[in-house]
């Protein structure tokens, strides 16, 4: 690692956390957020939902078990910087450097987390290079805020493609609308016996409705400005079984008259309890979202967060639409949500 002139994280409120550069050299602007998952650092950084974000890991030692191509949630890296208490192992830091991700180790991550928790997620800059603090802060203030930001275009696939790693015979075909889709979703669907076709986010309702079912994927940014996408979902409702995940859940919420809002600092981790209202059971879930569907007593809100009451899942039986705010596909995180995907697909199979 070459000697970097300066290395720190500056939040828009002026708080500065110093560290040492271990990833790529450069200056990364984005929203500073944190995840509490203790495993899955590579999955996190490659999850397109982390686009335009600087990710702090609360787990203090990151990189322990190296890297592996099979763990990437997408072809590229999406988080712009990784903030760690202690980066471990050259394999991991070299991987960061190769992908142009700024990596800072030696950060007082707990203090950073407490700051973000109390003041909310903030615009920030991770500096591993020649940039003074004042200049950096001025530049941070010129950056756009995450609310109101549409980021789907920059992460969605440009072309439709067939995701194939399914060995058995697929009885149903599922169209996945890629707003920044994680590979784990595709893998779980395929493993559950689906032929999985992935479509760009611009694909129209008619084309999608030709499939046995549609999955609205996860993705980065604010759902509110995604008017076109919401309209597509509205058009799909009732025509074909739908499953929304994360951003997909929020789009379904907007399409059915629910409100979304920006959470103060988001839900990111692998330990969030979600109550399944119908059964009274609790799922320990993998989460990664900065926006959420506002709490409601509506019958269709089948899942709620036991942390803040935000809607974690919908079921509209008459519209054949269902959703999860959390990540039932896991990757990283617990597999408690796998049956949600499997059951949904079974129902699709029965119906078709």
């Amino acid at each position: 690692m070459s000697e970097v002139a300066d290395c720190y994280l500056a939040l828009e409120d002026g708080t500065v956390f110093r560290g040492e550069a271990v990833g790529a050299e450069g200056i990364a602007f984005g929203e500073a957020v944190f995840t509490t998952a203790m495993t899955g650092y590579q999955e996190t950084v490659t999850d397109p939902s982390y686009a335009e974000q600087l990710v702090c890991f609360t787990a203090p030692m990151i990189g322990n078990y190296g890297v592996s191509a099979s763990r990437s949630e997408s072809a590229g890296a999406h988080a712009k910087a990784v903030l760690m208490r202690e980066a471990r192992g050259p394999e991991w830091t070299a991987w960061l450097a190769e992908r142009g991700i700024v990596g800072i180790t030696g950060i007082d991550t707990r203090s950073l987390v407490l700051r973000l928790r109390d003041a909310g997620a903030m615009r920030a800059v991770a500096v591993a290079g020649d940039l003074g603090e004042e200049e950096a802060l001025a530049a941070v203030h010129a950056q756009p805020r995450m609310d109101g930001r549409s980021l789907v275009a920059q992460v969605s696939t440009k072309e439709q493609y067939l995701f194939s790693n399914h060995s058995g015979e697929a009885r149903v075909t599922v169209a996945v609308v890629d707003y920044g889709c994680k590979r784990s979703i595709l893998r779980r669907l395929a493993a559950a016996g689906a032929r999985v076709e992935v479509y760009p986010y611009t694909t129209g309702a008619d084309e999608l409705a030709e499939h046995d079912a549609v999955v609205l994927s996860n993705g980065p940014g604010d759902p509110e400005p995604l008017r076109e996408e919401v309209r597509t979902v509205e058009e799909l409702l009732g025509r074909v079984p739908i499953l929304g995940i994360c951003l997909g859940h929020q789009l379904l919420g907007l399409a059915t008259g629910h409100d979304t809002f920006k959470l103060p600092f988001g839900h990111r981790g692998a330990n969030h309890p979600v109550l399944e209202r119908t059964t009274g059971r609790v799922l320990v879930t993998s989460q990664n979202h900065g926006f959420a569907v506002a709490p409601t007593d509506a019958r269709e809100a089948t899942h709620v967060s036991l942390y803040d009451g935000t809607v974690e899942g919908f079921d509209f039986p008459e519209l054949r639409a269902r959703s999860a705010q959390f990540h039932p596909e896991a990757g990283p995180g617990p597999h408690d949500g796998w049956p949600i995907l499997e059951r949904w697909l079974d129902e699709v199979k029965c119906a078709s």
């Binding site: 944190f34 509490t36 998952a37 203790m38 495993t39 899955g40 999955e43 609360t58 787990a59 203090p60 030692m61 322990n64 078990y65 592996s68 763990r71 208490r85 202690e86 030696g106 007082d108 991550t109 707990r110 203090s111 987390v113 407490l114 928790r117 109390d118 981790g269 692998a270 330990n271 969030h272 309890p273 109550l275 059964t279 009274g280 059971r281 609790v282 320990v284 036991l306 942390y307 896991a330 990757g331 990283p332 995180g333 617990p334 597999h335």
Partner: protein, 998 residues
């Protein structure tokens, strides 16, 4: 007891708290007096009864509870629950078993049933087979481990890589096993070991509270392994595979509510997983997991057992979120075992599947290296003590390369230094606001500040890892001190590093610092807390050693000052104090070289007691009868030694007292069953002292009354005395809480620690309203519990070096009944009839006749080796002869065979002062293996015979009722008697004073 220490006191206390909060009437049965859960205030009814079928059934019959909760008391409780169910006791009394029904316990414990359950959910266990002959070895997977059934400490077992080795090992195993049976198991040596702490509620919600990774690979008992939480080397997909498996296993076994510990082996390269075992109960690992995460497993498990679901229980630390989540850590936790091999010379020190450590220390740090280092220094290893993980150079084979690299870096670079700051353990990595009072330190970061209250702060230092000589008794004292200071209006802050304890439950104190008890870590806590005082007298030697540094750093010690500690501990100075007071002590001196020691011994007169001057607690003590022995002992020690005259056959007296610097209140005068020379911690102890006449009793009290103020003790004082030939000798004075404080407090009903804490805070004795000094009417016996079975090769004989790891208490109207009950509670029930084998040293030959005569009168058949048999025969007793092992010519059965074959029900074997210990040691070891009670002193044998002859069936009586009775009895005691006693004492003191003045 090894494998079962104060972690279950912690679990029990947590459970009692929540059950009572929910309006349940609670009854506790536990024979260990050094526990907080057996405090009279903790449950509605407390029974210090033997934990055997009879003892518990009696209590159940008397109390008729609605339900029994067996999942918080370790394996002992679980086994008892099975027994009670099998014997029909639970059904007959209509008692419901909470937490885990019998079939679930069986499914988890029975090898075959467990295998079926695990395989039923698509997982694997290591393959294994029970073998009873060499013809059954076909198809066994190698490498394999051979474990003979029912041998001591796995003796006779071994490892087989080839068919030849397998054949040989099985042959040995079959020969060693008394039932000619061995288990041949697929060896997972070198696989990585992981544990998951899982909780399930009645709605089938399952959460993993904590993952634990063992640094020592498979093959080393997890209690003996260095462990880290959370696991650090598994990727998410590998970890989730274990999480799924853990959930599947807890469901398959069918644990309905509560916690379970599930252990996995995982092949480092192939990722293959085997389920090793499951504990369907709170365990040592779950105590560790609770401390590591801040998630109170036992508390939650107790709530689940009475019908709550996880989402209905709040997270204790955040209070705003539910317990139905999985803790996430922004720090690393490392646990290191604490061994005591130095106490068991000759024992095999190889670590294996039998747990051998006696305690543990835990470190919390922001990085693995920081956490490891804290646990490492927390162990307080004695100088020259052999221990696994002795230093950073010698890392055991098989440790995962990731950890190896970390430890290498720690060794080469050390930790970064800087101002200590404190961070909260909050279970959520900061995601949810928490006012947690649970802290650990790190450097180079900001501090998580706390809201200082109006109340003055007192810091109480804990006792560190459990070890022999310093166990749960001291944690009991620290917890009581905390309670007392809180009741007095202080903020009580506790520092400790032992994860097994009640003191490190964040619920116990106002603030808990989980830190090593060393100067480097304790002083910064004091700087942060700015206490009005620091309390060092309740945690045994550990905090006492820090007293000087604390005072030097400008902090005030509450209670007994450093000067008094020094006066009591410095042999020379203490000698002068005794001389000044005209008190007798055994003649003594200090010698540096063997010839000096011999010269000194000759002057003092044999036998002498030799010990290194730098250690306390009986470490490396030897009784020597001649110059040759002194020379030999000196070779083993090296360095300065203390040489004391050894008072053979003396009666040993133990006194716990309170002193406010001026006057003294005698808390308890106890008498040891075994004579002086057996370490006081290993000796059985009786309260009130049965052999003391009124005059001697007064003399004992007078000695203590004079020592306390002269030393300057403010708080607790323990004095050990010996009565030899009608003369009282002072053996030692400890200006701190002693091991017997919990026992004495429970037997007398006087909370000694609370009183001492009040004295330390400045109160005077007369302000405490303690009432008159009490001599209880009930007889209470404390008996020691030994771990000899885990250390084959080491002679299980009592001596000056302490080796017990626990204790039990029993009370009754008379001594024989109380003693019989205590022996039962200690797992050594005395036989009512059968065969007794006697073999005593020359000096005991005449005295043994009395014991043997009474046994013969009771209908026992007597068997003895030549010397003893001759003595008994000469006294006209009918006795059978049996060969010693060293005498056998091959045809006659030896005593060892007699014992092994189960044809002997009681062994009385007093060791030779010197020389041929081999035979005695083989006899004692055989008795241990065959679970035959083995008595190694004539004093204990005498009491045992009395217990067999006169022990009565007595209905159990709860501690609460017993204390109420004592209270009433104390009230009835005639005033005149007391006045007379007081007058006599005053007169005696005056006479003393006059003699001294003259």
């Amino acid at each position: 007891m090894i494998g079962q220490a104060c972690e279950f006191d912690y679990a029990g206390c947590q459970a009692l708290k929540v059950l009572r909060e929910d309006g349940f009437r609670t009854i506790v049965v536990n024979s260990n007096p050094a526990t907080i859960m057996t405090d009279p205030g903790f449950a509605d009814r407390t029974y210090l009864e033997p934990l055997d079928l009879e003892g518990v059934a009696d209590v159940l019959g008397r109390e008729r509870p609605d339900a029994l909760l067996p999942t918080l008391g370790g394996q002992t409780a679980l086994n008892l629950a099975i027994e009670l169910a099998e014997e029909g006791v639970l059904d007959a009394l209509g008692i419901e078993l909470l937490g885990a029904p019998v079939e679930v316990i069986r499914r988890a414990e029975d090898r075959e049933l467990f295998r079926d359950a695990v395989q039923g959910c698509g997982l694997q266990v290591p393959s294994s087979r029970i073998v009873t002959s060499l013809d059954e070895l076909e198809g066994i997977v190698l490498p394999a481990v051979v474990r003979p059934a029912f041998t001591l400490g796995g003796h006779g077992g071994g490892f087989a890589r080839s068919q030849g080795e397998l054949h040989r090992q099985v042959e040995i195993g079959l020969r060693e096993s008394p039932i000619q049976q061995v288990l041949v198991e697929q060896s997972l040596w070198g696989w990585d070991e992981f544990e998951l702490e899982v909780i399930r509620d009645r709605r089938d919600n399952v959460v993993v509270v904590c993952s634990i990774e063992n640094l020592d690979p498979m093959g080393v008992h997890t209690g003996d392994s260095v462990t880290v939480a959370p696991q650090l080397t598994l990727s998410d997909e590998a970890y989730q595979e274990l999480r799924d498996a853990a959930a599947a296993v807890i469901r398959a076994v069918g644990v309905e509510t509560g916690g379970s510990n599930i252990q996995f082996a995982r092949h480092r390269e192939t990722g293959e997983v085997r389920v090793i075992e499951m504990n369907p109960r709170v365990s040592r690992s779950s105590a560790l997991a609770s401390k590591a995460t801040g998630y109170p497993i036992a508390k939650v498990a107790a709530r689940l057992a009475i019908g709550y679901t996880l989402d209905e229980i709040p997270n204790d630390l955040t209070r705003t979120t539910p317990a139905s989540f999985e803790p996430t850590l922004d720090y690393v936790v490392v646990k290191l075992p604490r061994f005591a091999f130095e106490k068991f010379p000759g024992a095999d020190t190889t670590l294996g599947t039998q747990m051998k450590s006696v305690g543990e220390a835990m470190g919390i740090g922001r990085t693995f290296q920081e956490a490891f280092w804290k646990a490492f220094v927390s162990r307080e290893l004695d100088r020259a003590t052999a221990s696994p993980w002795p230093d950073l150079e010698n890392i055991p084979a098989g440790v995962h390369p990731w950890f190896r690299r970390e430890l290498e870096e720690l060794r080469v670079q050390g930790l970064r230094t800087g101002k200590r700051v404190y961070r909260r353990v909050d279970s959520v990595a900061g995601e949810v606001a928490s006012a947690s009072n649970y802290y650990y330190s790190t450097t180079g970061e900001l501090d998580d500040p706390f809201q200082r209250s109006e109340r003055p702060v007192v810091v109480i230092l804990g006792s560190g890892p459990n070890r022999i000589g310093q166990g749960i008794e001291f944690d009991y004292c620290c917890v009581h001190a905390v309670q007392s200071f809180r009741a007095q209006g202080y903020e009580a802050v506790l520092v400790n590093c032992n994860p097994e304890t009640v003191s490190t439950d964040y619920d116990t104190s106002d603030r808990l610092y989980f830190e090593p008890l060393t100067e480097a870590y304790v002083l910064p806590v004091l700087e942060r807390e700015r206490p009005v005082g620091v309390v060092t007298q309740f945690g045994g030697q550990t905090p006492l050693k820090l007293a000087g540094a604390i005072e030097a750093a400008g902090f005030k010690l509450l209670g007994t000052p450093v000067e008094a500690i020094d006066l009591a501990e410095d042999r020379e100075r203490f000698g002068s104090v005794l001389a000044e007071l005209g008190l007798r002590c055994p003649e003594w001196g200090i010698a540096a070289r063997p010839e000096e020691a011999i010269e000194l011994a000759e002057r003092i007169g044999y036998p002498v007691l030799l010990r290194p001057s730098y250690v306390l607690g009986g470490r490396a003590m030897r009784v020597c009868y001649d110059a040759a022995q002194v020379g030999e002992a000196m070779r083993g020690i090296g360095g300065e030694v203390l040489v004391d005259r050894f008072l053979e056959g003396a009666l040993e007296i133990d006194v716990d007292a309170l002193c406010d610097g001026v006057s003294v209140h005698i808390g308890a005068v106890m008498e040891h069953v075994e004579e002086a020379g057996v370490h006081s911690g290993d000796s059985s102890c009786v309260l009130p002292a049965p052999s003391l006449d009124a005059e001697t009793y007064r003399d004992v009290c007078r000695v203590v009354r004079r020592l306390g103020p002269t030393l300057g003790v403010v708080g607790l004082l323990n004095v050990q005395l010996a009565l030899a030939d009608g003369e009282l000798h002072v053996l030692e004075a400890n200006p701190r809480a002693s091991r017997t404080v919990p026992f004495a407090s429970k037997a007398t009903g006087l909370n000694l620690v609370d009183a001492a804490a009040r004295l330390a805070a400045g109160a005077r004795l007369h302000e405490l309203d303690l009432g008159a000094e009490r001599r209880p009417t009930q007889v209470s016996v404390k008996a020691a519990v030994f771990p000899f079975a885990r250390f084959p090769g080491s002679d299980p004989v009592l001596g000056p070096e302490m080796r017990s790891t626990g204790e039990v208490m029993a009370s009754a109207d008379d001594l024989p009944t109380a003693f019989a009950k205590a022996e039962r509670a200690a797992g050594r029930p005395l036989p009512a009839s059968g065969t007794v084998f006697l073999s005593v040293r020359a000096a005991d030959k005449s005295a043994v006749v009395g014991v043997a005569t009474r046994l013969a009168d009771l209908g026992f058949r007597l068997v003895a080796t030549a010397g003893t048999a001759r003595a008994l025969g000469a006294a006209g007793l009918e006795v059978e002869w049996v060969d010693k092992v060293s005498e056998t010519n091959g045809d006659g059965a030896t005593v060892v065979e007699l014992i092994r074959s189960g044809r002997c029900n009681l062994v009385v074997n007093t060791p030779q002062g010197s020389g041929a210990r081999r035979d005695g040691s083989l006899i004692r070891e055989a008795a241990l293996a065959a679970r035959v009670p083995c008595i190694t002193t004539l004093a204990a044998a005498g009491l045992a015979v009395a217990a067999i002859a006169h022990g009565r069936q007595e209905l159990p009586c709860s501690l609460q009722e017993q204390l109420a009775r004592e209270e009433a009895a104390a009230g009835e005691a005639t005033q005149a008697e007391k006045v007379a006693e007081k007058v006599a004492e005053k007169v005696a003191e005056k006479v003393d004073g006059a003699t001294q003045a003259a």
